[in-house]
């Protein structure tokens, strides 16, 4: 039936829009805005629940028109909201100087809630208008949502994000075309539907490009690069992994060489700049086979490990534009395995600009691998002499703390252990980071190395470590084996010849730490010594930034925020201390506060007034507060687990763009199954309960045997569901990480299948608590149903943000444990 198709179309559109927004925010704005999207989306959904509760009866009488209006609202606002938001003078970077910029946030919420409000209103109307077909409508809703998320992800491999927006709008308009042709019976006037659909397609095709065009923030690296006279875009390539832009700047060369020695006199050769999502510059360096033009590379801190080894076998994690491969070639590396996650970036270097790059990837010994670093290393038997993790993010991004909300599994203790496992005896792990003052990244890496070495049973980790500091970078060296006197002499000479400072070397004197790039205090040396000494825990506690090692459970490498330091940092904000504050975390906290206020206004207020109008005599055993607490708890718990799962699968699947749709679809589908089975389960258990244990039939299935344990509970299906969730979630906690480590080398498609298998039981049970309780509430106090729905939506909005905040300070395991606790609380509340 075409109604179902219309529902599926709207649902697909809404999910596709959500995924697309995440991408667009990363391109035009800064990364952590992407995190707001889930909560904003749910806000629109929640508000539509309230709206329908208030005026749904009236709308149902004009179902076709109302459905079409909702779908059209979705389609139109999907385009206009983004166009308007892009034109708002919102300067996220200036928030700390101008707190009134925060006032733009509620406007942005409202703008982006509109499309989701429209979509959710359509689906809600359909559900309410055809109560006898709720099951099928719900199923099509889920299928549509899953198809939308996956479909857009696939579409982004071939379409640019602005074209994808047309598709999203088209889905909405097609649904509107079906809606307007809807008869009261639910049948469709086919002729009108066809005509309207044609009009919808024409409208989307005719949409002026300026409406969907991306307006890059003027502060992004790409915008800046294009202001340089003569600079132009040579190529653009888009995938869910990022929008790649290749820029040539022939008049005024790029000269990208982080940490380059002050003594270096040679100018870098011509370079092409490759920007990912308008930032994170990596350079493709011109190479004609001659070594002399590349000599400047020997003056960068990343050259250090090559001065300690002859003819090394090298693994480069993050090949980028390939400059680090050149560096390895320059130093006579025999084999180079270069790993790059973005296939399009590899293709740019290997094909489109291969001549410019000197056919880098065809050189003898060079092998390029499209893979995520951790997965690649896990699947590798080979061992290397050098594992190099080069600097791929931009200095500005590092200084502005724009990555503070993004997880990174490359710098965790578990990652370091993996790298060490793949080093030959005497081999080196070398990691270069931008210098921050006071030290943050570099000391956290140092602490991570110390922990990883200790886990491998090394008594004196300090003997394996060296830290070298240029005027704007630091390079950490971890040796698989103690550094010898000869090694240290070479490191000293390397540093001395390039005006680099030794930040740490085993046994060095404090005075040695401040020779060329002078700090008021040798903070890097002092920190490294403290991290190796007995006072480590004390040092980590008293340091005003969080520099404790990150783990796979709490992978926020770029977040250094400590609440304790906030007052002092705020006080120093105006005195040139702005970069001391990782405001990404604060912005998230601010989002939580504002979303809470908005959620109250949008969802609770209309429902409270509704409740007052239709006051019912209190039904036995179902107090308002119990209902509220129950739906609050399961609303929080559901998203806690879902978001923790997304983050966990980021490690396994390699990137959020794979993890988000897979986990989202998994949860949608299996939770849908679970909620569909919930009523049947109730019936089955009621039937079982009716029979006394004595008169048990001879033949009893294993499942029945299991159910019988729950029969004695007052409300058996709920207890069963919660027990199922608890078991599955705990199993995830225990099994997931070791299992991931083991299965990491599998090909992507298989990994997705494994992920879905893992998600299935958990999501299945998690789909039950909501319908189970809703049925009960409907039976006992039907007026509370929309209220319960609203509270649940409200909790979902807040929990999406809260889950990340909690994970940043406590880790994902803790988030899951809290969720299990909330489910138990819910079960107890509605006993």
């Amino acid at each position: 039936m075409l109604l179902f198709l219309a529902v599926a179309l709207v649902s697909a559109g809404a999910l596709a829009y959500e995924v697309r927004l995440t991408r667009l925010f990363s391109i035009v704005q800064w990364h952590h805005y992407a995190y707001m999207v889930i909560s904003i989306a749910l806000l629109g959904y929640g508000a539509s629940g309230a709206f329908l509760a208030l005026v749904g009866d009236g709308l149902r009488r004009h179902l076709g028109a109302a459905f079409a209006a909702g779908a059209a609202l979705f389609a139109v606002s999907a385009v206009t909201s983004f166009a308007v938001a892009e034109r708002l003078p919102f300067n996220a970077l200036a928030v700390l100087w101008e707190p009134r910029q925060l006032l733009f946030l509620p406007i942005l919420y409202t703008l982006f809630a509109l499309p989701f409000f429209g979509a959710a209103t359509c689906i809600g109307l359909a559900l309410a208008a055809f109560p006898e077909r709720v099951g099928r409508i719900y199923r099509y809703d889920l299928i549509g949502a899953a198809a939308g998320a996956i479909g857009l992800m696939l579409a982004l491999f071939v379409l640019f994000p602005d074209t994808a927006l047309r598709l999203v709008a088209l889905l909405g308009l097609l649904a509107a075309a079906l809606g307007i042709s809807l008869r009261e019976s639910g049948a469709i006037r086919k002729g009108r539907a066809a005509a309207c659909s044609a009009a919808a397609i024409a409208a989307c095709a005719a949409l002026p490009p300026s409406w969907t065009a991306l307006h890059l923030s003027e502060y992004k690296g790409l915008s800046q690069a294009l202001l340089v006279p003569g600079a132009k875009v040579l190529a653009e390539d888009s995938s869910p992994l990022g929008l790649l832009t290749v820029v040539s700047s022939p008049t005024i060369p790029l000269r990208h060489a982080p940490g380059l020695s002050l003594y270096n006199a040679t100018e870098p050769p011509a370079q092409l700049g490759v920007f990912t999502d308008g930032d994170g510059l990596t350079a493709i360096t011109a190479f004609d086979g001659r070594r002399e033009p590349l000599n400047y590379l020997d003056s960068t801190p990343t050259a250090l490990p090559y001065h300690l080894l002859e003819k090394p076998e090298v693994l480069i994690l993050g090949a980028g534009g390939g400059t680090d491969i050149l560096l390895a070639l320059l130093h006579g590396a025999t084999t180079i395995d270069a790993v790059e996650i973005n296939p399009q970036l590899v293709r740019l270097v290997a094909e489109r600009f291969a001549a410019f790059a000197g056919h880098l990837y065809e050189r003898p010994g060079v092998r390029v691998h499209v893979a995520e670093a951790r997965s690649f290393v896990a699947g590798r038997r080979d061992r290397y002499d050098v594992i190099q993790i080069p600097l791929l993010d931009s200095f500005a991004a590092a200084a502005a703390g724009t990555h503070s909300l993004s997880e990174s599994y490359v710098y965790t203790i578990e990652a370091f252990e993996q790298y060490l496992d793949h080093l030959r005896p005497g081999g080196y792990l070398a990691i270069t980071r931008w210098l921050k003052l006071p030290p943050r990244d570099s000391l956290r890496l140092f602490a991570t190395a110390v922990s990883a070495l200790e886990r491998r049973g090394i008594g004196e980790p300090g003997r394996h470590l060296a830290l070298v500091r240029s005027w704007n970078t630091t390079t950490l060296l971890v040796k698989n084996g103690p550094l010898t006197g000869q090694d240290m002499a070479k490191i000293r000479r390397f540093a001395d010849e390039r005006a680099f400072d030794l930040a740490f070397l085993p046994g060095m004197a404090r005075e040695e730490a401040n020779q060329f790039n002078i700090l008021d205090q040798p903070l890097f040396f002092d920190g490294a010594v403290a991290l190796l000494g007995r006072e480590r825990d004390e040092f980590l506690r008293d340091y005003k930034f969080d520099i404790a090692p990150t783990t796979d459970d709490r992978p926020y490498f770029f977040d250094f925020f400590k609440w304790r330091a906030l007052p002092e940092l705020l006080e120093r904000r105006a005195i040139g201390g702005v970069a001391l504050l990782d405001w990404g975390y604060l912005l998230l906290a601010a989002t939580l506060v504002q979303a809470a206020a908005l959620a109250l206004v949008l969802i609770l207020a209309p429902l409270l007034s509704l409740g007052r109008d239709r006051r019912e005599p209190a039904a036995a055993g179902l107090a308002r507060w119990r209902v509220a607490l129950y739906f609050l708890a399961i609303g929080f718990a559901f998203l806690f687990i879902e978001i923790a799962s997304i983050q966990r699968f980021v490690l396994f699947l390699g990137h959020p763009v794979y993890a988000i749709p897979v986990v989202l679809c998994g949860f949608l589908f299996f939770a849908g199954l679970g909620s569909g089975i919930a009523p049947k389960l109730t019936a089955r258990l009621e039937a079982l309960r009716a029979r006394s244990p004595q008169s048990a039939p001879i033949r009893i299935s294993a499942a029945d045997r299991l159910f019988r344990c729950f029969v004695r509970v007052r409300y058996p299906p709920l207890a069963l569901a919660i027990a199922g969730i608890g078991t599955a979630a705990l199993l995830h906690l225990v099994v997931a990480l070791p299992l991931f480590r083991w299965l990491m080398p599998l090909p992507g498609a298989l990994k997705i299948a494994v992920s879905l298998v893992l998600i299935a039981p958990l999501a299945f049970f998690m789909g039950m608590p909501f319908p189970l309780a809703l049925v009960r509430v409907a039976a006992a106090r039907s007026a509370l149903v929309p209220w319960a729905w609203g509270i649940n939506g409200c909790a979902s909005v807040l929990s999406a943000i809260l889950a990340i905040l909690l994970a940043m300070s406590l880790g994902f395991n803790a988030v899951v444990l809290i969720a299990i606790g909330l489910y138990v609380l819910a079960a107890v509340t509605l006993r």
């Binding site: 970077l93 100087w97 006199a265 703390g401 008021d520 040139g576």
Partner: protein
């Protein structure tokens, strides 16, 4: 004689017609006098208004200088002394910063914050401008190079202190407007150029001080070469609106050795006091 006199009188009268004032002319005159008076009154009023506005701006600048002084008290480590040099504070108190920011942010010209000037560029917070200027240790006879003109504010401040200021801007539109602005405001000792700052300004080298406000992943070797022995180069590092720290490059007067200092604008001890005491 009489006719002569009459003639003369006629002539007088004729002349009178030209020179003396008939009634309608008087009326016209008085109108124009009135108009003139009104115009003059308006002019005076406008002048006094401008004077009032000027006084307001001066007061704002004075407040700004007071803020800079207060901030500087917490920046002794970066400064290498207790306060910003008084002559720099005087200059900052004189330079019309509002002329160097776009109209839409002019109201905040003297606020204690960096301001956007378009093209993804900013004009630094007044305190940072004063601090960087102080770090350059400019003396009256000095020649200073600036890479990254922006709106020209820093160049204007330097122009009051140095003999000559050379400034290069990579974004042509910014370079043009800054050049016009500096000329209009009478900064005759500032030379502007649009283009690549990497090679410095070879015709004018060597420099006593260089300030590089354009973000760079390296310190261009030609700039170090163009720095006089004993000269100082200041480079602010960070993101727009989020200065991280300042790099002071010094070329030793005796052996020519180049060293850098990494300076946080504000004194900040990364360990809590309890730990430091132990």
């Amino acid at each position: 004689m009489r006719w002569l006199r009459r003639g003369a009188r006629r002539s007088d009268a004729w002349q009178g017609c030209r020179t003396s004032t008939p009634s309608h002319a008087i009326v016209a005159r008085s109108w124009s006098a009135l108009a003139l008076g009104v115009f003059l009154a308006l002019l005076v009023a406008a002048r006094s208004l401008t004077a009032a506005a000027q006084a307001d701006l001066a007061a704002e600048r004075a407040r700004m200088v007071a803020t800079i002084e207060a901030h500087a008290k917490q920046a002794s480590i970066a400064l290498g002394r207790d306060s910003i040099a008084p002559e720099i504070l005087k200059v900052v108190g004189d330079v019309p910063r509002h002329e160097f920011v776009p109209d839409r942010v002019r109201g905040d010209a003297y606020a204690d914050r960096p301001l956007p000037i378009g093209y993804g560029q900013t004009v630094s917070q007044p305190f940072i401008v004063a601090l960087m200027t102080d770090l350059l240790r400019v003396r009256p006879g000095d020649v200073v190079l600036e890479v990254g003109t922006g709106s020209g504010y820093q160049a204007a401040v330097l122009a009051h202190l140095a003999r000559r200021v050379y400034t290069i801007e990579i974004v042509p539109a910014l370079a043009d407007s800054a050049a016009a602005r500096l000329q209009r405001l009478g900064y005759g000792n500032v030379a502007t150029r649009s283009g690549d700052g990497y090679y410095g300004w070879e015709e004018a080298e060597p420099f006593d001080g260089i300030i590089v406000t354009a973000a760079a992943s390296q310190i261009p070797p030609p700039l170090i070469r163009q720095l006089k022995p004993g000269g100082r180069m200041v480079i602010p590092l960070g993101a727009p609106f989020a200065l991280q720290h300042l790099v002071l490059v010094e070329r030793n007067a005796d052996d020519g050795r180049v060293t850098t200092k990494q300076l946080l604008p504000v004194s900040f001890v990364p360990l809590t006091s309890g730990s430091r005491q132990r």
